[in-house]
Symmetry: D2
Subunit: 319 residues, 4 copies
Amino acid sequence: MPGSQTPTRRYSYLGPAGTFTEAALKQVPEAVGQEWCPVANLGEALSDVVSGSSDAAVIAIENSIDGGVTVAQDALATIPGLRIVGEYLVPVRFVLVARPGTRMENINVVSGHPVAYGQCRAWLDDQIPRHRHLPATSNVQAAADLFDSEKGIDAAIAPPGIEEHYDVEVLAEGIAENPDAMTRFVLVSRTVPVGDPTGADKTSLIVELPEDRAGSLLELLEQFATRGVNLTLLASRPIGDRMGRYRFVIDAEGHIKDERVADALLGVKRFSPHVVFLGSYPRADRIAATTHAVYDNDTFRDARDWLRGVIEGTPDGSD
Amino acid sequence: MPGSQTPTRRYSYLGPAGTFTEAALKQVPEAVGQEWCPVANLGEALSDVVSGSSDAAVIAIENSIDGGVTVAQDALATIPGLRIVGEYLVPVRFVLVARPGTRMENINVVSGHPVAYGQCRAWLDDQIPRHRHLPATSNVQAAADLFDSEKGIDAAIAPPGIEEHYDVEVLAEGIAENPDAMTRFVLVSRTVPVGDPTGADKTSLIVELPEDRAGSLLELLEQFATRGVNLTLLASRPIGDRMGRYRFVIDAEGHIKDERVADALLGVKRFSPHVVFLGSYPRADRIAATTHAVYDNDTFRDARDWLRGVIEGTPDGSD
Amino acid sequence: MPGSQTPTRRYSYLGPAGTFTEAALKQVPEAVGQEWCPVANLGEALSDVVSGSSDAAVIAIENSIDGGVTVAQDALATIPGLRIVGEYLVPVRFVLVARPGTRMENINVVSGHPVAYGQCRAWLDDQIPRHRHLPATSNVQAAADLFDSEKGIDAAIAPPGIEEHYDVEVLAEGIAENPDAMTRFVLVSRTVPVGDPTGADKTSLIVELPEDRAGSLLELLEQFATRGVNLTLLASRPIGDRMGRYRFVIDAEGHIKDERVADALLGVKRFSPHVVFLGSYPRADRIAATTHAVYDNDTFRDARDWLRGVIEGTPDGSD
Amino acid sequence: MPGSQTPTRRYSYLGPAGTFTEAALKQVPEAVGQEWCPVANLGEALSDVVSGSSDAAVIAIENSIDGGVTVAQDALATIPGLRIVGEYLVPVRFVLVARPGTRMENINVVSGHPVAYGQCRAWLDDQIPRHRHLPATSNVQAAADLFDSEKGIDAAIAPPGIEEHYDVEVLAEGIAENPDAMTRFVLVSRTVPVGDPTGADKTSLIVELPEDRAGSLLELLEQFATRGVNLTLLASRPIGDRMGRYRFVIDAEGHIKDERVADALLGVKRFSPHVVFLGSYPRADRIAATTHAVYDNDTFRDARDWLRGVIEGTPDGSD
């Protein structure tokens, strides 16, 4: 009604329509009916958020075949003012498409996003051994490029359903190495207060080690282990100043408002020269954190009560 | 003046006058001019404190030759309501004394407190190979017993200066194995609020392990190591219910009001089924705790400020 | 001379001539004067080695800006019969080139290998904010593609010296983020006996963790730490079967014929369900391993002698 | 018969007949029918072995109530040429005895070995609060001393059955704190070759730490933990040169000829400035070592085979 409208929210995502990123955005409840803005690359998506031209962006962050999306990890490590507020999983399935009438034995150049190519390489190496790969900026774009005859593309790796958008013929389905492959996407907003725990949360952070030696990684991991916090991801990324210097991208089970996670973060913060807290948010898989009773919130509160008691000299405060 | 007197304070110690325990009590500034009460054994000394008939007791707790005084460790582990409030070091020196005219070759039975005997055994084994040891309740008592002819004692291990109290002849001096040997005494009061840190403090506690396996001791030690807290003593004492079940007596560098120590105690408390905090008190040797800057109080406070900032979403709170 | 010729050796590398990979191959002493075979991609290079059509291949394995070359790590993890026998460092420098007469403000699409693009992205984001990136299979190819007008490329990221091969104009030099950036290449042959230690060696392996939890990574790292073996690289790569399952790519200081490294490998082998030994080879930077005397070869041999002695009951074998 | 006799073997033990030590000696199968030699103290027992006047000695080493027998631990740590070859458990039960006609309310002085006294102190403190303890060299001796009227003893702590040897009256039975209390004895011989594993063995050693800090104890424990070796005893004993310097008395599950134990000992030997191997021997409780399959002998041998294979470049030796 006039005068009563909530302003439209704007979400950036790696376009065009039909990408896996759009499939992830479709899972974001609060994005339904809002403005969706396709962008050309990750940098643009995050710039939109930082500048305020978008409220949030959906970006791919990890892939069960290809690992961490390093460019996204590096962007989150270095661009200030961002926070992860949601996580979504999209199954990764690919088809090989070509212009109608193309035969397998005539395929030389296969286009596809490098990550998709990695997931389909085994199949391609087996079926089209001497193929060449031409990287594309997205898999939807790869399919579109089939009709840009000067690019010399014979086939494209594309998401299922691509034939509804383009006049292509599906030569093979399920060409990705693992039928259970997933890509993990995160929803990134500007820095906002952390939401409340749901009981099935994940906390992401990026940590630089104090010294360039194996021992300090052990120390870092012990900060989590001594508080019973499991890690679901530990990836190393070069800091970039010289060979062998790495920062670590960490996903931990639990929420910063869970006592054990907060305590682990305090330990990490004291130990590390540079920590970036990326966010605590509900897990896409809704799996509750597995932790031992000695690490639950009550145990932390009881220990603090005990400490206060022994300092004050409360009778029987000694146990 | 009448009507304005502070009530006299009463200190229990292992008597009689002349013992090393009395030498420790002489180092307690607030005990000067107060009532000193010699008792027969450790249990009596601690009972005096628990019952309130004494304000504090001085007890031997560790010896550089013989190790922890196990009966004292066990008493502190099991008697509630006690707290260590001070620490004192007394050099351990012994002389061998006998009735005047006694010759070394005629000595068969040597009396002495078992701890003293342990410290002099090497010398005795060498000089009087076939001697027998008759334990005494204190070394001063051993000297006194020389004149209880029915006890059949030929010589006694005694503290230097004993000849001023008894008509004995010193046959040998410096018979303890190590001329630098020390005994560590602690002043024990009823549970009172913990005093303030001096910068050179020690914290004593007793910790039961959650499970009967090497791994849990490792976990316990990591609680200290991950906070940069050094241990000056780690002794195991049987819990007593069955073979192989031990509790640990721990002295840590630092004070419970030092952030890193408080944090380590919280970790220990969460982990252990039973923790007894025995006290934080100035070290007798006045050696300041050695710790790395990453474990100082400011680092702990900064980390907490950072955590609060990232939860609240403070701009740039992420690093 | 007739009848006395050594057969020519064949080396595969990512071509065409002018790539950084070729620069690495130029550093391989035994490749001088042999046959160099440019290939289109990593898979082809390694296939050449496995099939025996080439004797060895030079491949990029790590980059000080972009981290591990994941496709190479994954190939080494999964293709049997390969071994790393050498390591080489090539400085990473880039120029931005275009067709003669192109002006910066007219550049929209920039081509370049994704890794190169990652290293130059900061400069490009700053200087040409709305550029689009078109991935190329190599940076030399990106420059060549400038003259394939239908590709719609306006500029290319290329190695210095490219203007000697193509009619391009250098618009900017030193556009990589870090002027000290390096790429690390390895020389890969079929499995051969390990060479002898040089005192400045590196050992590469790939290790799968026994269970999907933080604790097992700690255990893995302790296998190295307890033998005083430093790690120069620890990278995680998805095993690919499901989200969150990772194998670890490890470079350790030292040689498999160094006792401490051999012992660590034994520990890793016992612990891990799957270990791939990739090779022990001289380090490109010639930095000797830093290790404590307690981890040198003599200490290991002495310990074995001691163990044998105590088992046999040699007199005084107990210390 | 003349000419066919095996020479009699001689066993030293803490006498007189009737002590718990004699009860332990009765459990030694090979001692049946041999010469048993009661001695006055531990030093004498071990001297008999070192000098060769006895073939072996039975000594108390640990008590489920009182912990390690420190004088025995120290003797084994410092006297060379000894080895533990067997282990025996004796239940600890005590009665309170007095001269016939004595009434509880008239008891002032109670005699008993200090260890026995420690185990009965709770009962004595409760039943005879103001008693004094007079240490005796053994509990049998305490009972005998009841009839040495000049010693002024009113009651004695003694082993059950003492009334068969002396004219005493049993005033109370089961006065030890824990009815399940046990004392652990070991059979000590001169250094001999280690026997074979039985599957339920224990290995004893004494280890000095390289540096006086908590971290080095952690490192020591990790030597066992990383090989899956559980510890059944970890006790600290002062080295004696200055306050706070400790050596550790360790009992580990398993036998030096078990691969994992041998490997742990190698690690300990490399790490420690001083290790004393005391022996590997069958456990008294016959409990088989609990260890994970990854630490069994085959796993160790397989790992060595694998290592040899990868060094030699055996095809498929890489996994």
